[in-house]
Symmetry: C2
DNA sequence: TCGGCGCTTTGACCTAAATCAAACTGAAAG
DNA sequence: CTTTCAGTTTGATTTAGGTCAAAGCGCCGA
């Protein structure tokens, strides 16, 4: 029904192209106008909390630039990241009153927000918007289930390799092929954030990153800049099926 | 927009009340008729595979009776359950060609299926169906993220307690309060299935169930019948916030 | 130029859960 | 009534990853 590349076929119309591409690739002019009317931007500094779990959340939004995380925290402080939001990702729960997770800006962040009430009204009048949102939510559910396999069954080394592969693949903006065909990118997360993503401690993350470096799977330039000389080699370390990670 | 108890306000109309309640609480007569026309039932025996990951899946369905699981398997056999389907749960991916996970009947299973093509057509004509499905998918996403916290950060004992609490709460059909206020239910999973749910080995599951029994948190009658004398006591063992598990 | 302070690395040690192995239980089949 | 066998329990041992502790490394601001 909806082409998988719909994210990339959007018309740029106004100040928030990503947003429109993300949700409204098939919007007609009047719907785009509605969106224009109810949208606004918010900026956050690195480290700032966007919203706390349980707080009233009267908007939905998409990330324009920067990175945000969704995390859950237990009473004694154990933390688990449950979502990683890169540019063009959607956040918000149409039909829900409150936030279910802490949302935090891990880098400087700009979000394009839409007041929830009018957004929901538009949704109920425009079937393909609800369908598009369903589509995106199913994608997130797939990602969450892939993540569950990682958390439940992968070794620390496999977890690290998987995370590097995910970031390298998903964050197309940062991903580059240099002359020799290496994949190059900057880690947008601290060791602690990686640990919260992977269900590890930051020490274990550090050790396994060092091990991958020692074994030549990655080259570290500084603490954050990663060079992957051979992406297939990295993929072998993830423990995933070798069919290129195609979600079948 | 949608009342949270919508699952319980449905009209019983014909042979598949659960199905209609799950997706069509607000359907008008002609939509129900459409559903009646495209629905059919399938039965599976305990242990049978409903569909393999990667197979073409040309239906969506809801569980009528019995229990099904979604699992992912790594090349070397490590398995992680990523979904547990109880009666009234929905399975299927509108807009997707193929199954993303193995779906297996863990007990005898009856599903009410709808051919995907006409179902999708109805969806695009009937905004509230797409919205309802979005609603349900968001619920699943919440459950998946709760599950991620469990997999990433909980101890074996907390995992077991959490699973028992989830089953006791979620499977309202099996849940009973007896004279003394105990919660009583039958475990619908083997130790191995519990292990695949929790990211543990079956031996660890067995040991921790024994430990909870030794400590009086649960009483075991046979291998499968569980009595929880004090549900709050069980909840304390889960590591979850004490506010009754309300998803805020 | 120098502290100071996040962030990271590395080392020594410990422990929760995995692994390996054996025995037990109970229901179904003969 | 016995056998069988899937599912389960329990014990002994190992190990991956956690915990605690101490440096190391930039980078920013004074």
């Amino acid at each position: 029904m909806t082409a998988p590349d719909i994210l990339n076929v959007g018309h740029d119309c106004g100040a928030c192209p990503i947003r429109h591409r993300a949700v409204c690739a098939r919007c007609e002019a009047d719907e785009l106008q509605t969106l224009e009317q109810i949208k606004y931007y918010r900026s956050y500094q690195a480290g700032q909390t966007v919203i706390w779990s349980g707080d009233r959340m009267d908007f939905v939004a998409s990330v324009v630039t920067g990175i945000a995380t969704l995390t859950q925290t237990m009473e004694d402080g154990r933390r688990q990241m449950v979502g990683l939001l890169l540019p063009s990702d959607f956040v918000g729960r149409p039909g829900r009153q409150t936030a279910a997770y802490d949302v935090t800006a891990t880098t400087d962040l700009v979000m394009c927000c839409f007041r929830k009430k009018p957004f929901e009204e538009m949704m109920s009048k425009t079937p393909h918007v609800a369908q598009r949102l369903l589509e995106m939510t199913l994608d997130e559910l797939d990602a969450a289930r892939e993540w569950m396999l990682l958390l439940g069954r992968k070794t620390a080394r496999e977890k690290i390799a998987s995370l590097l592969a995910i970031i390298a693949r998903r964050d197309a903006h940062l991903k580059l092929k240099n002359a020799k065909g290496s994949t190059v990118f900057d880690l947008p997360l601290t060791r602690e954030e990686m640990a919260d993503y992977l269900g590890l401690t930051l020490e274990t993350v550090s050790r396994q990153v060092s091990a991958l470096k020692r074994d030549g799977v990655i080259v570290l330039e500084g603490k954050r800049h990663i060079v992957v000389p051979n992406f297939d080699r990295l993929m072998e370390e993830t423990g995933d099926d070798s069919d290129g990670g195609m979600l079948v």
